[in-house]
């Protein structure tokens, strides 16, 4: 197992309780189904859709992404890194007289600091975004349905003790799920 795989353990679908899977073919029915599930107090683990469906995040009560905070810390890191770098190179190690400009903190530092901040933020955000979405090397894809990246939408619900599984499946069917399955120990069974 790669280091990424170990880090990924928390997000992976492995080693979970039995999951109930509903597959939809259009977002209107998916939205109404997800709404009713949420209203019935069912905790929806996640919904996988091939494209963004607006409003779904609010229905399943998704928390706000922490990407903005990550961006902030990446920016601070980049700024510190570049300020230290240019100070070391240009003031401490090898001061140079360029056009008789002062070597201490001058406007010429600003582009370096700015670019470094932007670079670190962009790379940091990309990395954490892909990692959180399980799209980096070293993480095995776990597609609940091979068509979830194409034209199907998949709702995944992790069962807990005392959950009325039949009621959940009924809600899914009522709202036009084309298939309902269960997923346990890596095996899917069509119900």
């Amino acid at each position: 197992m790669t280091i990424m795989g170990i880090l990924d353990k928390k997000l992976s679908l492995r080693d979970r309780n039995k999951m109930l899977i509903g597959v939809w073919e259009d977002e209107d029915h998916l939205m109404s189904g997800a709404s009713e599930l949420a209203n019935a107090g069912v905790h929806i683990h996640d919904i996988y859709t091939p494209y963004p469906v607006h409003g779904l995040d609010r229905i399943i009560g998704a928390r706000r992404s922490k990407l903005a905070r990550i961006a902030f810390f990446c920016a601070i890191t980049g700024l510190t890194l570049m300020t230290t770098m240019i100070w070391y190179m240009y003031v401490h190690d090898w001061p140079m007289n360029i056009g008789n400009k002062p070597v201490r903190f001058t406007p010429s530092w600003a582009p370096v600091m700015f670019e470094g901040t932007v670079l670190c933020t962009a790379f940091g955000m990309s990395f954490f975004f892909f990692w959180r979405n399980r799209l980096v090397h070293g993480i095995k894809n776990e597609l609940l349905d091979i068509r979830q990246t194409d034209d199907r939408m998949v709702v995944a619900i992790e069962t807990v003790n005392g959950m009325d599984e039949k009621a959940v499946l009924d809600i899914m069917k009522k709202h036009g799920a084309v298939e309902v399955r269960e997923f346990h120990n890596g095996v899917q069974t069509v119900l």
Binding site: M31, H54, G55, D57, S65, A110
Partner: protein
């Protein structure tokens, strides 16, 4: 929000300019006039002191033209004379230039007219961009820029009064033009002579007039199309398509003329100096101010119970615009300085030298008000979604950017020793009151909702996510 796919029936709304808002605009105007009165009362005193202090006071005995010619030579000398670095020579010294006392009044007419002319112009640009970019989210607030852009003729008149009355004292190239010097004569200025094809009195009046006529025509055309759409039928996209064509035409015209008018009216107060980024810098100064003003009006209109279709999501996007263009402003602010600083060419230095030596407080205050405060204040998501935070930060931004325009003009016109005083603040508040009155009256002229716009539904469902 939420159930994004349900059809929402949107009703037309009619805005009423409440007596309270009227009172507010009149208070602004009266307060402005009082401050202008105070400013003018101080003006005489300042001028007397100034006359007594300056060595050139004696020149008052000579004819006006000769007097001005010498004043100009002094100015030209200052702008060319020295390299600011100690290694190459002594630092430049700036003195108050000897100008008639009322020049300050006309210069104020000029900057306040220019500022609000650009505000109404960039609101038209904002409107045009929404069409050209096929933007859907902004349809709900579309009437606000549509109202702001109607203000265009008023600041144009104010600007023209300032130019007519004070042009020879505001622009040193304008009175150089009157001297009619030939090459070889004393006081001949090759740089000003070289620029006289662009910087001349005919150009100063004809060019803005022609442009305002063109802008005004396009503004009326786009407004007429928008009104026709309201009276048309739902599903008719012909007005939308025609608006897109006119918007594209305006965007091209604006792209060129915005820069040129900034060079002609503002950059030319330091006629020996030039900066190629200046027009763009002027654009973004007014752009970010206009977006702030727009956010203010949208927030107010919503608070009065109108525009139910405009949600916190739209306000958040306006906040993001304010934040983003604050950063962009700072980017241009620094870029303009950085190249000049690096190249170290003396004639490019004059603009910054006087602002940094004699107006250090204003120069730094400008950066704090236009960048530091909005950047830190609007960084967080919750700040952009809070209308009280937007109101406080936005007020600082609007004043800061007006002060920015002041700083572009006044040191160039008057030399050292000017202050952003009662007169400047008063003129600004007076025209701001007029602006509020005018824009809110324009808002009442048609329904608040672009009821037949093809993207209305998209705007209603606009959601930036959790």
């Amino acid at each position: 929000m939420g159930h994004g796919h349900h059809h929402v029936e949107v009703k037309q709304e009619q805005f009423v300019f409440s007596p309270k808002a009227k009172r507010f605009s009149i208070i602004l105007m009266v307060l402005g006039l009082v401050l202008v009165g105070l400013g003018i009362a101080n003006l005489g005193g300042h001028d007397n002191k100034h006359e007594a202090k300056t060595e050139t006071a004696a020149h008052g005995e000579h004819g006006v033209a000769a007097h001005e010619a010498e004043g100009h030579q002094a100015a030209a000398h200052e702008e060319h004379g020295n390299v600011p670095n100690e290694a190459f020579g002594p630092r430049m010294e700036f003195h108050p230039l000897d100008k008639p006392a009322n020049t300050r009044i006309w210069a104020n007419f000029m900057i306040v007219g220019y500022f609000f002319l650009m505000i109404s112009l960039v609101s038209l640009m904002w409107y045009a961009i929404q069409y050209v970019a096929n933007a859907g989210w902004s349809v709900g607030i579309k009437r606000v820029p549509e109202a702001i852009m109607t203000f265009m003729p008023v600041p144009f008149v104010i600007l023209m009064i300032g130019l007519l009355m004070g042009k020879n004292d505001i622009y040193h190239w304008a009175h150089y033009e009157h001297l009619g010097l030939k090459p070889g004569e004393v006081g001949y200025d090759a740089i000003l002579a070289g620029k006289s094809g662009f910087l001349n009195t005919t150009m100063l009046f004809a060019f803005p007039t022609v442009l305002v006529v063109i802008w005004y025509f396009l503004m009326r055309k786009l407004r007429a199309l928008s009104a026709a759409e309201d009276n048309g039928t739902k599903g008719d996209v012909s007005f939308f398509r025609t608006s897109t064509k006119f918007s594209a035409a305006f965007a091209v015209i604006f792209g060129f003329t915005m820069s040129i008018i900034a060079w002609l009216l503002i950059m030319s107060v330091d006629a020996h100096w030039y900066s190629t980024i200046f027009g763009f810098y002027n654009f973004v100064t007014h752009w970010v101010t206009m977006i702030t003003i727009m956010a203010f009006i949208v927030a107010y209109v919503k608070k009065e119970g109108y525009l139910g279709i405009v949600t916190n999501e739209h306000m958040h996007d306006l906040g993001k615009f304010m934040f983003a263009f604050t950063v962009f402003w700072a980017y241009l602010w620094l870029s303009q300085y950085l190249l000049i600083w690096y190249a170290q060419i003396p004639e490019e230095m004059a603009y910054y030298q006087i602002r940094f030596e004699n107006y250090k407080f204003n120069f730094l205050l400008n950066f704090v008000m236009c960048f530091c405060i909005p950047f830190l204040g609007l960084l967080m998501r919750s700040a952009k979604r809070n209308r009280y935070v937007l109101a406080i930060i936005g007020s600082i931004m609007i004043l800061g950017h007006y002060h920015d325009v002041w700083l572009m003009v006044f040191p160039g016109v008057f030399g050292s020793g000017m202050q952003f005083g009662f007169l400047e603040l008063g003129m600004f508040l007076f025209v701001a009151g007029l602006f509020v009155y005018w824009v809110f009256t324009a808002l009442t002229k048609r329904g608040l909702v672009a009821i037949n716009h093809p993207y209305l539904d998209e705007s209603v469902h606009h959601d930036v996510g959790v």
